[in-house]
Subunit: 355 residues, 2 copies
Amino acid sequence: MPAEPSQRVTPVILCGGAGTRLWPLSRAARPKQMLVLAGGGSMLAQTAARVSEAGLFQPPVVVAGAAQAADVEAELPGLGTLILEPMGRNTAPAIALAAIEAEADDLLLVLPSDQLVQDAAGFRAAVARAIPAALDGWVVTFGMKAERAETGYGYVERGAALSDGVYAVAQFVEKPDAATAEAYVAGGRHDWNGGIFLFRADVMIAALERFAPEVLAAARAALSAATREGARVRPEAAAFGAAPSVSIDYAVMEKADKVAVVPVSVGWSDIGSWEALHIVTDKDDEGNVVVGPGMALDAKGCLIRSEGPMVTAIGVEDLVIVATGDAVLVVPRSRSQEVKDMVDALRLEGLDQWL
Amino acid sequence: MPAEPSQRVTPVILCGGAGTRLWPLSRAARPKQMLVLAGGGSMLAQTAARVSEAGLFQPPVVVAGAAQAADVEAELPGLGTLILEPMGRNTAPAIALAAIEAEADDLLLVLPSDQLVQDAAGFRAAVARAIPAALDGWVVTFGMKAERAETGYGYVERGAALSDGVYAVAQFVEKPDAATAEAYVAGGRHDWNGGIFLFRADVMIAALERFAPEVLAAARAALSAATREGARVRPEAAAFGAAPSVSIDYAVMEKADKVAVVPVSVGWSDIGSWEALHIVTDKDDEGNVVVGPGMALDAKGCLIRSEGPMVTAIGVEDLVIVATGDAVLVVPRSRSQEVKDMVDALRLEGLDQWL
């Protein structure tokens, strides 16, 4: 059932992340959402395209770092508003900015800018299904089908059914241990928390007022002193900097009363590591993925990716090998999460030219 | 005992090799002998320095590919003669050129240009020790102490002692199987054949006349029509091209009667693979060698080498990771010999820009 025009949804695309876990491809000046990782176009462009059906969506609001302004505009010609954060303050202040800028009864769909959804139509159908609950004052999260016992994700547990395919949230669980994650996958009542939320702007503002008043106050002050030029909105830096750096999950979702979950199975991935990228990419008969100039001899299960150099591998298994013009990474797929340790180590050594 | 001036030795440095086994560092336009791999300076410069003691050695003769002329002259300001082969024809024709160019009673010391000798003084002492046998008409090879059961090398077996530290050769054995190589190392009568030979020019010419007359005839014809300019000698191409492509081992050493061996233990390595380079290089506490911009986290036994890119490795063991400005190689150290298969594969795919 298509939504009525009065129920159209405004996508709020959060574009502030850095994505050090995909180093050396992701860099300070080229964060993950600007990369072409899977499918056509950058993660950001794919995210915007996913929520661009005119009958259902308004033009998107993007919240990005000030340094990303030109890149975002180049990627998204159909941009509605571009809110440029003077500094990163995690998701709660970013969402507060978007909620304050909106009309009170606008429906906002918050989306990270760096996720993959293979079934975009299925995703849009789920958004449409969530609209009545959001109009009724629920903050709706989308529960991604837990396809394996990931210990790096947050999980959301379904409680009582509110309507067809919409459930009250029983609880959120952050990064469970392996046994707990196994039990969640086996039990079938837990989904991954994908960080995608649908809510009425005034509902979120009320929740922030109650659970994170400092966040709301800082965002309001920063916007009242903002400079505006075309689609660009620049919140005032000192005021925004007063906001605590806190996630929307911690600030609101885990505390609010009316939180619902719409479980979906739409081929979602946050591509949060090289291993995650290997999982969602088509592989050859040996389980290898080779992107860019590369050649593998007697290699199995490898992710080989090059931005230029000829990358060659002989007789290795389950390795990630990534080369850019100025850096190379070699790590077992199973240890992909440790890439951030390498980024930390490079920073510690003052090797910022490679960050 | 220093040699008398009349017994001085002319080094003949063979500079024609390509060294595909050290790809991607060694390239068609930058063969192994031009690389700085271990110790100070290129392999070629170190080879020349090793045989530059004026009391013992004349200025060297270098036999190189025509394309290498400027590079060789830049590396070796003290060059005697530079014989520029119009095409590669393996070692027998190269040595024939040098022998014909020499005086009949000159002592020639043939050396590959791409080997490491850690004890240069010990090596020179061995050369001095071999001079009487060479003057007496023996072709002397230097037997490198077999430090492990290498199956990729040729071995030389000692026969009867001719004098202190000089033996008649019982036999040459090419690339034995692993069990045979083990037996050789345990037995103590076999050395590696390092491809370094000392002989009188007229003795070599007589041996070529007898065992490889086509080689000698082609070299003579090519030199009689050679063009000469300063130190450069350019044998005539069509005549030289008529020489069969054959090694001096196969053409002469394995057939001649008076072949002697002087066993030495001078820290020799042909650095014929990345594994061989790892063996001769100082390692850190984890057994890693890192040359150039690189960082290893929880890695063991790795050879990491970069000509520019920051090369990083996490959680890997016994890997070779080599990066140049335009290519990357990842291979287990134990499979270093297969690098030439990769070079072949790239050639087969027409990817010559990386060769």
